[in-house]
């Protein structure tokens, strides 16, 4: 009697979980996949026939360029996050253990506030009459206010602003695990600081680097509101393109294709992450 109740409970639980996931994760993604092969239809969003046209378009000059252009801002933002984040994470590992939890907490805290609001704050900061310009003017570093808003630079600044902690956390995790004795061994064998960095530190922290890039690049491509608020009408991220295709042009198939493209990129990066980990973790047993 007891066994039946247990089993029944199990069945219900698992059933709910499966149902939810199939309905809200598997089905939607599958639908998008299908739609990406359909054709444009203004009134119904999509229609037969099936076609590869949407994917081909990604590589066409007219449409494709918009997508690829928007890619490059995200890439630059990712690189910047890496360049700023790596030393930051490195320094963090050298800081007294006592202070670290607090510093980490400070780092993550902004994440708990609505990113839209923070971008708005950034907008005020960067404006022609904003604090940044005021400070620079008063310090005498510039003669007239610089127009940062409504440029790609502003968008990149915004992206880095929102995503930097996501790069720092996995980097910190990877650098912390670095076995310092390996660095000593490298020293012992004659490697100078640069050689140690390139041959030991980078390869061994690679999983963290890839992880960080994953956590930054993909969102960076999707955060259309950053482009909207800081970039103005002309500056677009991949997310803006997708949004406009879906909500404005009603060209669902093309929007779907771009979305699938993003997904493939994500899969690729995850694969790279897996490989980087494999380089360090070996699972073969011997003797």
């Amino acid at each position: 009697m007891m066994k039946m109740t247990t089993n029944k409970f199990q069945k219900i639980t698992v059933g709910i979980i499966f149902a939810w996931l199939i309905f809200f994760v598997f089905a939607p993604n599958f639908l998008v996949f299908i739609v990406s092969f359909l054709s444009k239809d203004v009134s119904n969003f999509y229609a037969l026939p099936f076609t590869f046209e949407n994917y081909a378009r990604l590589f066409e000059p007219l449409y494709g360029t918009v997508v690829w252009n928007s890619l490059y801002m995200s890439v630059i933002a990712t690189v910047l996050c890496l360049v700023i984040g790596y030393p930051f994470a490195f320094i963090m590992t050298k800081i007294n253990e006592k202070y670290r939890p607090f510093l980490m907490f400070l780092l993550v805290l902004p994440f708990w506030t609505n990113s839209l609001i923070r971008i708005y704050g950034m907008k005020v900061f960067l404006g022609v009459k904003g604090i940044l310009n005021e400070v620079l003017l008063s310090l005498g570093l510039i003669n007239e206010p610089i127009r940062i808003l409504n440029t790609e630079v502003a968008v990149i600044i915004g992206l880095v602003y929102l995503l930097l902690p996501f790069m720092i956390l996995p980097l910190y995790s990877a650098i912390e695990k670095l076995d310092l004795r390996l660095l000593e061994a490298a020293k012992d064998l004659g490697a100078n600081a640069f050689q140690r960095f390139v041959r030991i530190i980078i390869p061994l922290t690679m999983p963290g680097i890839v992880s960080g890039c994953l956590l930054v690049l993909l969102p960076a491509m999707g955060m259309f509101y950053v482009a909207d608020l800081l970039g103005g009408a002309k500056v677009l991220l991949v997310g803006n393109v997708i949004k406009s295709e879906f909500l404005v042009s009603r060209n669902w198939p093309f929007g779907a294709a771009i979305s699938i493209g993003l997904t493939i990129l994500m899969a690729l990066l995850i694969f790279v992450y897996y490989k980087a980990n494999k380089l360090l973790n070996k699972k073969v047993e011997l003797e």
Binding site: T5, Q10, T13, I16, I17, L31, T113, N114, R118, L218
Partner: protein, 256 residues
């Protein structure tokens, strides 16, 4: 010398992260409408905020969605974590796989897919579409939170309970739930925050019938300066801070 450089660098990064927030908070009390110079302390904007009905309504809606969504996500997510931990069933990999997909997918990919789903199935965009979407993207975080905690348990304790005659539901209620509580609570808090914070998914799956905050703010800031937004922002920041503190305190109390 090295140390000074190091500390300066860290300080600059932290400043970069916090300055816009300080600006918002500062300006919410600033008499000057444009926030360009300090014109005296004022509660003005908070007053205007509370008189702005549409804004307040949108705020209430957001909180409702966050609350209900977090609760639902926590229930389903906790059950999922328990199921993954305790039960053997076919398709465990599939479940973890799908949860992983949700967590890793860029917001926009998920937004698009859910929009497609709702439109094709015929769910109109409004409260329900929002709720379902929010629960979905919060799920994996709850699962991870609860599952990690469960993994730390001695499984023999549960077997002992079984041996003593407890049914599954009893085990759940009397043993698993209480012990997993901190993780469940932090899962809820995390979901609540993620839901409040969401912009991308909400943009796609919400409709005019149920307005929520991000979109309202969006339209406001795009068109011009509305200093009420600063007041609202400040309130939200304080709210988030409080939530995080509460989360930390609960976590610390239950460090069994």
């Amino acid at each position: 010398m090295n140390r000074m450089l190091r500390n300066f660098f860290m300080f600059v990064v932290y400043a970069y992260l916090y300055i816009p927030i300080f600006i918002l908070v500062g300006n919410s009390f600033n008499g000057d409408r444009y926030g360009l110079s300090w014109k005296g302390f004022s509660w003005n904007w908070y007053e205007r905020l509370f008189n702005n009905d549409t804004l307040i309504q949108a705020a209430v809606h957001s909180v409702v969605i966050a609350f209900v969504g977090a609760t639902l996500a926590t229930i389903i997510g906790s059950l999922t974590a328990i199921a993954l931990y305790r039960y053997k069933f076919r398709g465990k990999q599939a479940v973890s796989g799908m949860l992983f997909v949700v967590m890793m997918s860029p917001d926009i990919v998920m937004a698009v897919s859910l929009l497609a789903l709702f439109m094709i199935v015929g769910i109109s965009l409004g409260f329900w579409s929002l709720l379902l979407a929010h629960v979905t993207f919060c799920l994996p975080y709850v699962v991870v939170s609860v599952f990690s905690r469960l993994k730390g348990f001695d499984i023999r304790m549960l077997e002992a309970a079984r041996d003593l005659g407890a049914s599954e539901i009893t085990i759940l209620r009397k043993i698993i739930l209480p012990l997993a509580l901190p993780a469940i609570v932090s899962g809820w808090l995390l979901s609540f925050t993620l839901s409040l914070d969401d912009v991308v998914v909400s943009s796609f799956v919400s409709g005019a019938s149920y307005e929520i905050l991000p979109l309202k703010i969006y339209s406001l800031v795009k068109t011009g300066v509305t200093p009420e937004v600063n007041a609202l922002a400040t309130i939200m920041i304080v709210l988030s801070l409080v939530l995080v503190m509460v989360g930390q305190l609960i976590g610390r109390k239950h460090k069994a």
